[in-house]
Amino acid sequence: MLKINDLHASVEDKAILRGINLHVKPGEVHAIMGPNGSGKSTLASVVAGKEEYEVQSGEILLDGENIDELSAEERAHKGVFLSFQYPVEIPGVSVTNFMKTAINETRKAQGLKEMPANEMLKMIRQKSELLEIDRKFLSRSLNEGFSGGEKKRNEIFQMAMLEPKLAILDETDSGLDIDALRIVANGVNKLKSEDNAVIVITHYQRLLDYIVPDFVHVLYEGRIVKSGTKELAHELEAKGYDWIKEEVGV
């Protein structure tokens, strides 16, 4: 589904990603871990199409198609979803109105008709129940005045609504208490299928107890320096990142 080959990317002439290789197949969950400043969030933003990042070389293939030249919205229309580490507050746009616009613009791009209002409302009801989101919440301005946990739950709610092929969760666990973490993870697990894939970016192993990865990668200084299975995450939790640095000789 997603193939990243030797990806180099920079922001304002500062090289951040220095040769990323990653292969994600449908039905898989990948975790990307690594210390602060290793390039995790950059990788997420580059795949989602943030324009400030410049791809110098390498390619990002989604189902075999190079998406490097596509805009953020075109990537979204092809099924890429990024759950933001810091969801942006948008005063004046309600959660419902935002979702309605996002879904209908995506459908428009896919040559489909707008979703009928009753169908939309039904879907909103189902998915908000899944994330245990209060209905009153949906008429509030997007992310405005939301607590950290509410913001993250709202991100996964949007994921549930948009049903992406590839979901990248950028530090979705940060700022979550254990209950919220469970709700969010439960939501992600319920949305998992044989046809979609999830990339979980996290500092800590905690989230991976709930969203169990098939593969764990360690990102360091813009490169994936080690890959393994979920045991690698436990090892990182126990030993920290220093042994990796030693092992890879940096």
């Binding site: 229309h77 948008i90 746009v93 109105n97 996002a102 949007q158 948009l162």
Partner: protein
């Protein structure tokens, strides 16, 4: 003498000499005519405002005063309703006072004398039964500056609305002025008087619409009186062609516990100047002034507001949002005066602007003169661009850039729409905003 001054004077001379011709069409023995004669003298003395005047520093009338305007249209023009239906808020039951090239159009209008008076200024100024109201209110709150005086001098036609005590008007009143373009350039001077007596409630929608590419200049004066506990909602829909300019002078005089809200939606026109003055003559008054301006090309919109807090325990709320693209220019000058007696005043003012291009500009100036010591007065103005991180966030959810920008701009102006009390009007304004932003999305859900 400079060339510009000559242009000003050409039109000024023409107007002053036209006054003699105008006198042949009105009753010169009426006391109203003494007011007109005073006014033409005032105009002759003051002339048109220039950029040398502080209040007109950022708005030059030069480009619109150069035309050879007809002051009296020669022919009467009829308009068929289907052709102009779109300029009405047509999906509601309403009273309508409609003018075509300054002349009353009876077949487009729906006036009434059933319990309330929704009719013509020309009738009110001449018929004895309106004499008491006219004597008490006509030209009592309008300013005596050049533009208002010019209007007063030629005041003859417009809307006259009188709502008696305790009357709640069930349907909104629409005042629409059309210009057809049968004249190569046309100047209009509508004059409106709105009197809401004690404990009455009225909603009014006003629109000036040119149907031509020929230049049209409208110099309008509206006097609004909200008596004790009256509620007046006044909506100005400004979406005219870019060949049309408007100088709107609206004066609101309020008595105790009254509420007067004026919403101004400025999406069109070549040059629009909104002079909106409030005078609070009583306690516990609520004054609301709100506006959304969305313009592009070389359009210019200037909001000059004044709230005069004269008595204690009153409130005023000003909220103006502006979005300027291309080489559009905007002005906001919000003056608040709090007199020494006006203790416990709560005056709020905000002016927020988004500039979409390097060539667009906004001059914004809060002007507070506070003589009381126990008051709450806040003001704030911002000028910024659209939030790039919000744009990326929305785009990453599949909302294309243009639509994402539009949604952000709509959200930015949403505060102003919240207080629009007529749902159909709100929907109309929302549609106009989408149109103005070039997108086809429903903002409301």
């Amino acid at each position: 003498m400079s060339k510009v001054a000559t242009k000003h004077n050409d039109l000024k001379d023409k107007l002053v000499s036209s006054f003699l011709a105008f006198e042949e069409t009105v009753d010169i023995d009426s006391p109203i005519h003494d007011i007109r004669i005073e006014a033409i003298k005032a105009f002759e003395n003051q002339g048109f405002p220039t950029k040398r005047m502080e209040a007109w520093k950022y708005t030059s009338l030069n480009s619109i005063l150069k035309h050879n305007y007809s002051v009296f249209p020669k022919v009467e023009n009829a308009l068929e309703y289907p052709k102009v239906k779109k300029y009405f808020v047509h999906d509601i039951d309403s009273y309508k006072i409609v003018f075509v090239d300054g002349k009353y159009s009876s077949h487009l209008s729906e006036t009434t004398h059933d319990g309330i008076d929704v009719c013509l200024m020309s009738a009110a100024l001449t018929k004895p039964k309106y004499r008491l109201v006219i004597d008490k209110y006509f030209n009592k709150v309008a300013e005596k500056d050049g533009m208002a005086s010019l209007n007063t001098a030629f005041s003859n036609e417009g809307a006259y609305i009188h709502i008696p005590k305790n009357k709640v008007v069930a349907k909104p009143i629409q005042i629409i002025h059309f210009a057809t373009g049968s004249e190569s350039a046309l100047m209009l001077q509508p004059r409106n008087l709105i009197v809401a007596e004690e404990n009455s409630h009225v909603q009014i929608i006003e629109r000036h619409q040119s149907l031509t590419e020929n230049p049209v200049l409208t110099n309008s004066v509206t006097e609004i009186f909200a008596n004790k506990r009256a509620i007046v909602d006044y909506y100005k829909l400004q979406n005219d062609k870019e060949s049309a300019s408007l100088i709107d002078n609206t004066y609101v005089s309020q008595k105790q516990e009254s509420v007067a809200r004026v919403h101004t939606f400025s999406f069109g026109g070549k040059l629009t100047r909104n002079n909106l003055n409030y005078y609070q003559n009583g306690e516990r008054i609520d004054s609301t002034l709100k506006g959304v301006t969305i313009i592009g090309n070389k359009q210019h919109v200037d909001h000059h507001t004044l709230v005069h807090h004269i008595e204690p325990n009153c409130e005023s709320h000003q909220d103006y949002k502006g979005i300027y693209g291309d080489a559009a220019t905007g002005v906001f000058n919000g003056k608040v005066i709090v007199e020494k007696e006006a203790q416990k005043t709560n005056a709020f003012q905000a002016n927020n602007n988004i500039l979409l291009s390097d060539k667009s500009s906004i001059n914004t100036k809060p002007q507070l003169e506070i003589f009381a010591d126990d008051v709450k007065c806040s003001h704030g103005c911002t000028i910024g661009q659209l939030d790039e991180s919000a744009l990326f966030y929305m785009r990453s959810r599949g909302i294309p850039e243009k639509e994402a920008r539009a949604l952000l701009m709509y959200a930015f102006s949403n505060d102003v729409l919240e207080t629009v009390k007529i749902p159909e009007l709100k929907q109309r304004v929302t549609k106009l905003i989408a149109q103005k932003l070039g997108v086809n999305i429903g903002f409301d859900l």
